[in-house]
Structure formats: structure tokens, C-alpha cells
């Protein structure tokens, strides 16, 4: 015991010493950001948003205190915090989360010159948030099992017997739900329900997220999957495009399969006067940030006339269905449908 107690003491002392060095200096209690700085709640990871925030600080001198988390948890946290939230800006991975936070009365109205920069199809209808980037729905497939012309560019045929057990979806994922909403609105409620029921009967494989589906296709565990295009580009950037088994097929122009999901940002209610926060959101739809999104995260810029990521069809050519992705009432109907067919 004597030896082990000494051992324990040494480790504990070293830990406390290390922790003393490692403790961050930033971060005070709620809402006390010093002037010329603001608090950002980012529902997208630091790997993607960190470099952008750094560019903003270098250019403007404004310090950004950023908290990173996953969009869903962060939206729930914002709603739990209510008016006591330390955050000034919420950056979200999907429109539904922004819609939920706005619906709870927690977002302020953005200036028209900010929201006006973006194609009105891809931003909020009431100015409570602004669309920042777009992600196209694609069908990824295992290129060692399938040739491009064997893969449909629409989801309709995936309920045929030849695809039994070979298709992967992420039914709890916001982007899949947005796609189902698009399906409901373009094909009608009955057709959407019929397709989902048939898909489930066809032994569809359910995954937690887009990344898991891509990983499964890329390792040969799954033949085709419904994801957003940018996950493929991310994987290509890390592993090399030539080494990927998974390849992409973009949706047929004009169909629900060509839906474009958006990410966006809003300013919290009561923080309208925060000049630093306002400047950040305006900067995000500016040229430099938009270029970053296109070249570094391989997403679509939503500014009319902007070029898309290299190797992807232009946004205008996709002609995705025009639906309000932050419309909670519509999202609720989608969820009810997914519950009814037993996918969530």
C-alpha cells in the first residue's frame, strides 16, 4: 500500500500541475463577452469552421469565442438556455434546427442587406436566419460492385427487388428528413408514404448519419446509400479521391432526389445591437467566406451566380425542388409519416 499510495500521489500532483497549464484563460460566465468580441455557438465542427473564424479575426480584429457541438444538441441547449444564453450567433448544419430555434422566439430578424444577398429559395422566409451553403443530395454507390449506369439517378427504383437489402438511409438525420419533405411536396403524401413503406419492406439498412453510410459503402459493406454530396468530398480530401471505392451519382434535375439542403446562421434575440455579431454574419455571406466554403468544405455557395465546388454540377443545373426547409409544421408531418411507417 505504501508504494501504491506514493504512486497515486505522484500521478495526482502531475495531473494538477498539467491541468494548471492547460486551463484555458478564455470563457467567463454567461453573456459577458468583452466589447469587440462575441460568442458563437457553432453546430458544425471546429475542423470546418475554425479556420474560417480565424480568417475573420485576422481581417477584422474581432475576437470570436466559439463553442462547437453538434447542431441537434446545440439547438436543444439553446432552447434550454432561453433568454439567458451566452450566445450571440448560432451557426447551424441544417435549416430545421434554425427553424426550431426561431420558432421558440430566440432569433432576431437579420438586416435585409444580409439576407438579400442569398438566393431567396435557400434562406428563411422571415429573415430570422440566412442560408450560408448548400449540400446536394446524392446517391453514393460501391464502384467495385456497380457501374455508374447501373445506379438510378432517382430514388423511385430503389424499392425494386434487385435493391433488396442493398440501400442505406439515415432516417433520423435532418437532411434525409428534408428529402422526405421534398418527396411529400412534389409527389404527394400518398406516393411518399407508399415509397417509404416499400423501402422499409425492401430491407432498407438504417444508419445514424451520412458519414456512417459513406463509410459503409466505401468499405464494401453496403452497395448504395442516400447522403449529401459534401461527405464524399470530405472523405476524398482525407483519403485521396482515387482511393475511394464509393462514387457519387447526382439526382435527376428537378426531382426530389436533386434537393439541396442548406446550412445557415442567425443572431439571437436581444443581441441585435451587437455590432461584432452583425459583422460576422454579414461577413459569412461575403466573398471571402463563400470562397472558403466552396474550396475548403466543398459546399455550394448560395449567392446567385457563384460557382460550385469543382467536380460537382452547378447549383442552377440541379434545379432542386423549392421548399421551405425550416417550416416546422411541414417537418412535423414528415416525422409523423416516418413514425407511421416505422422508420424512426
Amino acid at each position: 500500500m505504501i508504494i501504491s499510495r506514493r504512486r497515486l500521489a505522484v500521478v495526482a500532483a502531475a495531473a494538477l500541475l498539467l491541468a494548471g497549464c492547460g486551463e484555458p484563460s478564455a470563457g467567463g460566465p454567461g453573456g459577458s463577452a468583452p466589447p469587440n468580441s462575441f460568442v458563437l455557438y457553432s453546430g458544425r465542427s471546429e475542423e470546418l469552421i475554425g479556420p474560417l473564424v480565424k480568417q475573420f479575426t485576422e481581417e477584422t480584429g474581432i475576437e470570436v469565442q466559439a463553442r462547437y457541438g453538434s447542431t441537434t444538441e446545440m439547438a436543444a441547449q439553446l432552447m434550454e438556455e432561453g433568454t439567458r444564453s451566452p450566445a450571440q450567433v448560432f451557426l447551424s448544419q441544417d435549416a430545421g434546427a434554425l427553424g426550431a430555434v426561431a420558432d421558440a422566439g430566440l432569433l432576431s430578424t437579420l438586416p435585409a442587406e444580409v439576407t438579400g444577398k442569398v438566393d431567396p429559395r435557400y434562406t428563411s422566409t422571415d429573415g430570422s436566419w440566412v442560408g450560408l451553403t448548400g449540400r446536394a443530395r446524392v446517391i453514393v454507390y460501391d464502384s467495385q460492385e456497380l457501374r455508374s449506369n447501373q445506379v438510378p439517378d432517382e430514388v423511385g427504383p430503389l424499392i425494386e427487388p434487385e435493391w433488396k437489402g442493398r440501400v442505406g438511409i439515415a432516417p433520423t438525420n435532418a437532411s434525409f428528413q428534408a428529402f422526405v419533405t421534398a418527396l411529400r411536396l412534389t409527389e404527394g403524401e400518398a406516393a411518399a408514404e407508399q415509397w417509404l413503406t416499400a423501402l422499409k419492406a425492401n430491407a432498407v439498412q438504417t444508419y445514424e448519419g451520412n458519414g456512417d453510410i459513406l463509410e459503409a459503402v466505401n468499405t464494401g459493406a453496403l452497395d448504395v446509400g442516400l447522403v449529401n454530396h459534401y461527405y464524399w468530398f470530405e472523405a476524398a480530401a482525407e483519403q485521396g479521391a482515387g482511393r475511394l471505392r464509393a462514387q457519387m451519382k447526382f439526382g435527376k434535375p428537378g426531382s426530389a432526389s436533386a434537393l439541396v439542403n442548406v446550412t445557415g446562421a442567425g443572431i439571437l434575440r436581444g443581441q441585435e445591437q451587437n455590432a461584432a455579431a452583425q459583422r460576422f454574419v454579414a461577413w459569412l455571406v461575403g466573398e471571402q467566406a463563400q470562397r472558403y466554403f466552396v474550396t475548403e468544405t466543398y459546399e455550394y455557395s448560395l449567392i446567385p451566380g457563384a460557382t460550385g465546388p469543382e467536380g460537382a454540377p452547378a447549383l442552377a443545373d440541379l434545379r432542386g425542388p423549392d421548399i421551405d426547409l425550416s417550416d416546422l409544421a411541414s417537418l412535423e408531418q414528415t416525422v409523423a409519416l416516418l413514425q407511421k411507417v416505422g422508420l424512426v
Binding site: I3, S4, V11, G22, E238, Q239
Partner: protein, 519 residues
């Protein structure tokens, strides 16, 4: 839980009224653990029965509850068998490199189940469903059983075995009539911790695509940002936790809590034949390879395959340091807070102690997202100035992991003769002073083991850490998440390896106080 064999002046007999000061210290501890439960009640029942109906009373909830129960049953049985066998092997059989095996047996604690799940999938992409998930969870949770059972085996009195043998008991009879009752309370606590971990886990079941209740809880946040629905589903988990806690108590009851005799003869190591020794060593190595080596190798392979740049050593060091610091902080605060409740349960068993202990365990079966949100709610309501500070995060770890410390401290305190503290009091010490200077001091190894268990678990915690960490600071778990969230598994690998290495520290210390024979 009675101690009929002990002549004790006051404490130890059921029905003895506990001193007021102890109750006054213990009750707030239970209150702290009950914060998530209060939050759940507020959220689940605030909006009327509509959401409850929509999410709770449907066949899908029943189906997910069934799957949760099935998974839990398989994991608990697996952990009890593997954990007891491992504990027996490392404490009773003479093996070469005797100090290595206890460490290997504790090391799986350092590997988060979501990391193992990822590694297994990276190695065998096609696996999914109950069988591989249960295997991964069993490997991850077995140390919860191995550690307390090994400690109990090490503290057993060989003279009792001798008596049984004199009375003609064979080896098997000896095991079932003497050894098993002796280790049963320890095994039950370990099984309970494994079960609560299993019902609350989200990451590994999600990755292996076996849908359980935590899946539906997260789904209800995801699909409609409906905190009420999520709370309603979490209530089901609380009910399961109630049943599990009562089952554990049942397993403990009937088995007399035994004090460690001061002059007990510790059991010696049994020498077995060479092939048998090799077989035991191979089995222990196989388990360690599957639970620790495989995840590490799979991650390093991913790092090797990636085209990403070198890891950022500064970030790696900074997040390792804050992980370690938060872990030590959580361990100390939790162990101290758990002590009065553990003492109450150990020395004054009865209805009051039982109720306070039971409630303290219930929140342990809740997923991190629910506990995290409850603490967002609580901190902002009570001490908004501390919101998102290291202090509030450590408090969150205490709420999450106090039961881990409670079980170990309670067993250790039970093993100290309650007659000793009154002796100290005759020497003029006050009751609290006598408790700290005599009882707690003697129970120190168990209390420290509980603290280390809290430390190793807190280091791996993710959902509450994401919500409550000070802005701008990172732990190894959050850094790991940040990269896997965008499928940069290669870039995530160094953080995963660092997490396993840092968490191996408390795991190594834990093995030290459970497996090795006394010097």
C-alpha cells in the same frame, strides 16, 4: 446487509437510528444525483399528455424497450461470467509476470465504447446487430465486475476455506458455498454498473445499428427538437434503472456483509500445471487484445492510410492536460461527496439509507444528452455565474458518475468494523473526526478505487462535456468528436490514442488496488 457476527456498540445493526449529522450530509448528496430526475419530471409532464401519448405509448417504444432489455441482459451475464473468471485467474492462480495481468484486466476501462465500436467496424465493415454489439459492450464493461470481485477475493479469509475443506467440501462445493456468497455483493455492484452503462450508452449501439431506447431519445431531439418527448422516453430508462437497482439489492441481501477480520489469513496462489497456466495466460491475453489492442491498431492503421498532415502536438498536449485535470477534479469532488452517503448505507442500513442510495443510482441510467440538458437548466437557474465553467463541468461529472464511487466506498466501509470508531470516540474524538480519522482511513483503498473509476469514466464523457465545457477549451473526447463528426477518422486517431493512454493511468492505478497480493 445485516452484520450478525459483529458485536458493535451502536452502528451496524439494522434499525439503529443514524446520527443526524450523517443524514444531514448524506441527503444533499442524493438530492444532487436527483437533479436529472427532477428535470425529467418537469419536462415530461409539463406539456400535458399529448407528447407522452405520441412517443411513449406506441408499439415502437415497446420494441425498443425490449431490445434495450435484451442487450442489457446479455451484457450483464457476459460481464459477470468473464469478470468473475478473470478476477479468479488474477488473484488465485500463480501466473508468470504476475503484475501484468491485473493491469491488462483494468485497461479496457480506458477505451470508450464508441472508439471500440468504430475500430471493430473499421476492421470488419459488415458487422452489425446484437451479437457484435453485445461483445463490444461486454469487453468494455467487464472491468466493472473484475475489479470489485478481485478486491473481494483478495480480502477473503482463507481460514474459512480451510474449515469448509475440513468439513469435507470439494472444490466445487467450496466455490458455491463459501466463495460465491463472499463475492456476490461485489459482483452485483459491478453488474449493476455494467447494466446502467449499457442502457445509457448511445454511441456503440448507434454505430452497430442496433436500435435501443437511447436511439429513440436522440431521434426525438433530432426530428422535432421535442424535449418533452425525449424526456418521456427517458422516463422509461429511469423505470428500467429502478428495476435493476432493486435486483442488485436483492442479490446483496441474504448474503451477510462480512467484515474483514484483522488477522485473516489471505489466500495463497494456486500453482497449476504448465499447459493450464499457458491456457489461462492465453485467455487473459486474448481478452486484452480484443478490448485494447484491436482498437489501437485499427486507429493507427487509419492514421497511416490518411493523407492528412501531422497531428497538432500543441493541441494534443493541451487537451490531454485538461482531460487529466478535469478527471482528477471530478474524482476528488465525487469521492468526497459520496462518502457520507456511502457511510450511511454501510453502517446504518435501513429504509432511509436504502431510499437515499436507490435514488442516487437512478440518474445513472440516463443518456448524457439528458443529463447535460438537465444541468444546463439547473446551473442557469441556480448559479448562472458558474455556467460553462470548469467547476460546473466537474459538478456535472459528479452528478453523472457518483454511483461509481458510491458502490466501491460502501463496500470498503462495510468491511471496516463499526466498533472501531466508537473506540476512537472514547479517546475524545468527535463523531465526524472519528469517522474520518479511523473508518474512512481504513477504507481508503476502496474509496480511492471508487474515485479512480469516476476519473476514468469522466475522461471519456462526451455529450455533457460538449454542452458545459468552458468556451474555447477542449478535452480529448471533444477533439475526437470534432474530427469523427466530419468523417476525418485519420485525423481523429491521435486523439483517440491519447485518450486511451491518458485514461490508462487511472486504470493502471485501479488494477494496483484490486489485483495484486498485499506486500
Amino acid at each position: 446487509m445485516s452484520n450478525p457476527s459483529v458485536e458493535s456498540p451502536a452502528a451496524g445493526r439494522p434499525g439503529t437510528r443514524p446520527p443526524a449529522w450523517l443524514v444531514a450530509l448524506a441527503a444533499p448528496v442524493t438530492a444532487i444525483c436527483a437533479i436529472p430526475l427532477v428535470y425529467l419530471a418537469v419536462r415530461a409532464f409539463s406539456g400535458g399528455p399529448a407528447a407522452l401519448e405520441r412517443w411513449l405509448f406506441r408499439s415502437r417504444t415497446l420494441e425498443l424497450t425490449g431490445r434495450t432489455l435484451l442487450l442489457t441482459a446479455v451484457v450483464v451475464v457476459g460481464c459477470l461470467l468473464l469478470g468473475t473468471a478473470t478476477a479468479w485467474a488474477i488473484t488465485r492462480i500463480s501466473l508468470p509476470a504476475s503484475r501484468l495481468w491485473p493491469v491488462l484486466a483494468a485497461l479496457p476501462l480506458a477505451v470508450p465504447s464508441y472508439v471500440s465500436a468504430f475500430a471493430w467496424l473499421a476492421t470488419w465493415p459488415a458487422i452489425n446487430g446484437l451479437a457484435p454489439l453485445a461483445l463490444i459492450m461486454i469487453l468494455a464493461c467487464t472491468p466493472y465486475v473484475t475489479l470489485p470481485v478481485a478486491a473481494a477475493l483478495r480480502m477473503s479469509d482463507a481460514r474459512i476455506d480451510d474449515v469448509a475443506r475440513l468439513l469435507g467440501a470439494g472444490r466445487r462445493r467450496l466455490f458455491t458455498t463459501v466463495t460465491l456468497p463472499h463475492i456476490a455483493p461485489a459482483a452485483a455492484v459491478g453488474g449493476l454498473l455494467a447494466a446502467l452503462y449499457t442502457i445509457a450508452d448511445f454511441g456503440a449501439p448507434a454505430m452497430l445499428r442496433y436500435q435501443v431506447l437511447t436511439y429513440a431519445i436522440r431521434a426525438s431531439y433530432l426530428v422535432s427538437f421535442d424535449r418533452q418527448a425525449a424526456a418521456a422516453l427517458a422516463v422509461v430508462l429511469v423505470l428500467i434503472a429502478v428495476v435493476l437497482t432493486m435486483a442488485e439489492r436483492q442479490a446483496r441481501r441474504g448474503v451477510a456483509g462480512r467484515q474483514v477480520a484483522v488477522r485473516a489469513r489471505r489466500p495463497g496462489l494456486r500453482r497449476v500445471s504448465r499447459p493450464q497456466t499457458a491456457l489461462v495466460a492465453a485467455g487473459l491475453s486474448l481478452v486484452a487484445a480484443a478490448s485494447v489492442a484491436l482498437p489501437l491498431v485499427a486507429l493507427l492503421r487509419r492514421l497511416w492510410l490518411g493523407t492528412g498532415s501531422d497531428p497538432d502536438w500543441g493541441r494534443l498536449l493541451a487537451s490531454s492536460a485538461s482531460t487529466l485535470g478535469l478527471g482528477v477534479g471530478a474524482a476528488l469532488v465525487t469521492a468526497v461527496l459520496a462518502l457520507p452517503l456511502a457511510a450511511l448505507v454501510a453502517h446504518y442500513p435501513g429504509r432511509l439509507a436504502g431510499a437515499l442510495e436507490g435514488v442516487a443510482y437512478l440518474g445513472h441510467g440516463l443518456p448524457g444528452i439528458v443529463v447535460g440538458l438537465s444541468l444546463v437548466f439547473f446551473t442557469l437557474a441556480v448559479t448562472p455565474a458558474l455556467y460553462q465553467t470548469a467547476l460546473a463541468l466537474i459538478f456535472a461529472y459528479t452528478v453523472l458518475f457518483l454511483p461509481k464511487s458510491l458502490g466501491a466506498s460502501r463496500s470498503a466501509l462495510q468491511a471496516v468494523s463499526p466498533g472501531l470508531a466508537p473506540v476512537a470516540r472514547t479517546l475524545g474524538r468527535s463523531r465526524p473526526v472519528a469517522f474520518v480519522s479511523v473508518t474512512a482511513r481504513l477504507a481508503w483503498p476502496g474509496i480511492a478505487a471508487g474515485a479512480l473509476l469516476v476519473m476514468v469514466t469522466a475522461m471519456k464523457e462526451l455529450p455533457a462535456t460538449l454542452m458545459l465545457r468552458p468556451i474555447g477549451s477542449n478535452t480529448l473526447a471533444t477533439e475526437l468528436w470534432d474530427r469523427t463528426a466530419v468523417a476525418r477518422y485519420g485525423a481523429a486517431a491521435p486523439y483517440a490514442v491519447a485518450l486511451v493512454v491518458v485514461a490508462a493511468l487511472p486504470a493502471w492505478l485501479l488494477s494496483d488496488r484490486s489485483g495484486r497480493a498485499e506486500p
